[in-house]
Amino acid sequence: MSKVRVLVGTKKGAFILTADGKRDNWEVSGPFFAGWEIYHMKGSPVDTDRIYASQTSGWFGQLIQASNDGGKTWHQPGLKPGEPEMPAFPAKAPNRFVYDQSGAPLTTHAWYDGTPHPWEFKRVWHLEPSLTEANTVYAGVEDAALFKSTDGGESWNELSGLRGHGTGPQWQPGAGGLCLHTVILSPTDPDRIVVAISSSGAFRTDDGGKTWKPINKGLVSNFMPNPTAEIGHCVHHIAMNPTRPNTLFMQKHWHVMRSDDAGDNWTKVSGNLPTDFGFVIDVHAHQPETLYVVPIKSDSEHFPIGGKLQVYRSKTGGNEWEALTNGLPQENCYVNVLRDAMAVDKLDDCGVYFGTTGGQVYVSPDAGDTWKPIVSNLPSVLSVEVQTLA
């Protein structure tokens, strides 16, 4: 019978929630890495027992963890699971993210006041395992850059063509930092990657990361001096259904957008949403025109309108939205749902999951019609991913 494994990263550790295909009775394990911020965990689609995790701390910096048994045990890549050994340095350095500083334009980005500022690695926001190789994984980091490992996370190399393509020196951090938070790998073109950077925009490579270009045409950000500038847009998240890799859906700071040409052009599809500010967006696993967002009141008040937690679903690829409330709190709820905290499973009826800053993780086993909490009192949830297991 099918199973699902939900990977939850929180501000104080990681949790793994498992259930059978009914998604009714849940087993909760964790906290793993108690006390550390777990920005993101994601399993390899090639080997579902291989899970990567980003473990970070303001005190102790960035660590990468990996599991080869579905999250039961963890180790830093290159170190023997469960016990220390002494690998040669720096051949195995799973926590070492070094920016390519080979020259201008890789030396600086723009600081808050517009002055040049050196790139500084801060943390890994998102880990995206390869669709074809279990030992290959991408890391989206702050300050915004994309790293790649081909040895299971034992060492990392920057795909510096992204920062170096030309606009990098103009990238400027927003309130959340200059973070690369979204990495989308094309299931049909192994050389195509789409990334999104907070307050810089979306970018795409079609040659495996050597060269990149901004893909922000059609985005309008009225807070910018030039609202339709090539870069500077605060993209919060992008989602794709693997059966339609050219169709992308974006939750921007304000506005829900779609593109049907892999990001070359974007169209606003906010439609009748009560507010089109938000962070998460995802697409139904089997219906590529069905998408989900969680509207948030505004960028000044990061909580649902009227204290009512509502997921909105469109079955028409945007513009026409319906509120999904069955099982969600409809009074006194003032949580947020962060950009990487929604996921869908691949079961026939497509389960939808999201986590909140209040520590709840909700599941809908029927594509959004009904909801219930799996857990209600975790630390603030930073990310949610789900694995569908045979």
């Binding site: 108690a34 006390g35 550390w36 701390s57 303001g58 005190w59 102790f60 910096g61 960035q62 660590l63 830093q76 170190l79 469960g82 016990e83 220390p84 050994e85 002494m86 690998p87 340095f89 720096p90 195995k92 350095a93 926590n95 070492r96 070094v98």
Partner: protein, 102 residues
Amino acid sequence: MNKLPIRVVLPFHLRNLAQVGAEITVEAEEPVSVRTIIDAVELRYPMLRGTIRDYETLKRRPFLRFFACQEDFSLLPPETPLPKEVAEGKEPLLVVGAIAGG
């Protein structure tokens, strides 16, 4: 060059990461300093690499401090020799995480 057994006290999260107790012992090269001790700690416990000091610059992480014999060595050059009590294993080097107020 002689190597001396040195006592080191780690903060809670680094103990968990290295799967050790509150105090560890490493062999550090003379003259014993913060630099030689952390070199030895990272050699024996490679999972701690990058957690106490930056991988590239070897600079102390901002929210960690080094104390020994009731003295703060955090702001001194890391090659500064530590008191003989540390070198003789009578006193530990304390790696201390900042405690946020509030």
